[in-house]
């Protein structure tokens, strides 16, 4: 087994922390909370420790549920239960709110900037996914409103190449959307007996290559989906493996590291890391990999772990968001590296 070592606890939020996101270059961490604020954390040059350098407040009047960095790291989008999405711009180290995106009927639960930075996706309890185009002068225009989910949409995530948007929902499904002649259409719904999750899908994350996606659910499982191309070259996502038997309560968050490790945050207070261990002995079919537990930390937080996010550059550095109001930073070291050092 590898190890997951606690590096630092970041305190400051006065209510549960819902989500943590590293900036694309990894020099900042954004956290959002039930205390209606967003905090930005940076590494102190002198001590090497992470500390809060900015508060983004007095914009949202309810819980800030999620946030997303623009690919250039200059903007942060925040989605709130107050039904709005705020856009913040950093200029000379000072954050200023430059736009408010209104339109959802109620709680915005997820927000995600496309890899090119030209589009922003938001999702809500109103069951819809909205696509916004980023225009010059901090203007944002809604270019499409997608109906399709039958219940609240928990999260949206972009494929690393930006051509596919994934959304997951309280309706137990994952939907994949692509741009087709200026309209976003649902090309696939991952659901159904023997395939889909059997309860709320809380989050999805793509492998860095975009070849696979992992989802986590209230059904206590993780599902790994692989993208295959059919005869006419259309992508088709198929269930590749189910990771079960580890979590004892809802899995709220999942992230796939650039090095290939999957991290989960769960209501059982634990953080778990899974890595691929080759072909399943049961099926023996090539291309049917199995994942096994590579490290775990029971009681990682005093309460639910709501969010996990891998650092984009530093291998094994993980941030987690806890219900008790703190953020923790962790170092994952795989077993192979531990034995090298021994």
């Amino acid at each position: 087994m590898g190890t997951l070592e606690e590096l630092q606890t970041l305190e400051g939020h006065s209510d549960r922390v819902w989500s943590v996101r590293w900036s694309p270059s990894g020099d900042m961490l954004a956290s959002c909370s039930g205390d209606k604020t967003v905090r930005i954390w940076t590494r102190q040059r002198s001590s090497g420790r992470w500390a809060c350098c900015a508060f983004l407040e007095e914009s949202h009047h309810r819980t800030v549920r999620s946030c997303s960095w623009s690919p250039d790291g200059r903007y942060l989008a925040t989605g709130s239960f107050d039904a709005t999405t705020a856009i913040w711009e950093r200029q000379d180290g000072v954050w200023e709110q430059v736009a408010t995106l209104e339109g959802h009927e109620n709680e915005v639960k997820g927000v995600a900037w496309s890899p090119s930075g030209s589009l922003l996706a938001t999702c809500s309890r109103d069951k819809t996914v909205w696509l916004w185009e980023s225009l010059p002068m901090n203007e944002y225009e809604c270019v499409d409103v997608k109906h399709g989910h039958s219940q609240d949409v928990k999260m949206v995530a972009w494929h690393p190449k930006g051509e596919v948007l994934a959304s997951c929902s309280y309706d137990d499904t994952i939907k994949l959307w692509v741009d087709s002649d200026d309209e976003w259409i649902c090309v696939q719904t991952l659901a159904g007996p023997g395939i889909g999750h059997t309860s709320t899908v809380w989050a999805v994350a793509f492998e860095v290559s975009g070849a696979r996606m992992v989802s986590c659910s209230d059904d206590l499982t993780l599902r790994v989906w692989s993208c295959n191309f059919d005869d006419v070259g259309e992508p088709n996502w198929k269930l590749q493996s189910v990771i079960s038997g580890y979590h004892t309560r809802t899995i709220f968050s999942v992230d796939w590291s650039p090095q290939g490790a999957i991290a989960t945050g769960s209501a059982d207070n634990a953080i778990r890391i899974f890595t691929e261990t080759g072909t399943s002995p049961d099926t023996g079919v090539p291309g049917q990999p199995t994942f096994s537990l590579a490290a775990s930390k029971e009681s990682a937080h005093l309460s639910d772990v709501n969010g996990v996010h891998w650092h984009p550059k530093l291998p094994g550095l993980l941030a987690s968001a806890g219900d008790e109001g703190v953020i923790k930073l962790w170092q994952f070291t795989p077993a192979e590296l531990l034995s090298l050092h021994a």
């Binding site: 039930g34 239960f81 709680e107 639960k109 309890r125 309860s199 209501a267 005093l302």
Partner: protein, 166 residues
Amino acid sequence: MAELINPNPEVRGRKQTTRSVECNPNCGEGDREPIDALEIFEHIRDITDPEHPNSLESLSVVDEKLIEVDDARSCVKVQFTPTVQHCSMATLIGLCLRVKLLRCLPQRFKVDISVTPGTHASEAAVNKQLADKERVAAALENPNLLDMVNKCLAASEVDNLANLAA
């Protein structure tokens, strides 16, 4: 409310409760008494029904026998029984139970609230909503809903204060 969902519910009296297990004689001063089902019941029995001026205990919505506690594992399971199969107040009752226990139990406890199996037409849907912390968090930020919850909890909180003073 224009029309009552259950116009004529059966009402029973307040039950005398006793601890089934006597206080552990080895339990010295400073040791923490584990939380048990009776303690949970004491917290929730006096919550007022959203529809009637009666307590959840008197309407047999909550029952000590339908509470499971595992103090060592920090787990509490509470089942509640709506007075009628189509009770549209079931989610609100569940929310009241969740909020009450959120306010009076240490944060380490994982609380599961569900409808007693077979007692509600939309059992699975009600249970799923009550288990979704994001929906519960959002509901509690809704001032109207929070006001309704607080009204139901008022009697149970007064009672706790009285117990503290006694």
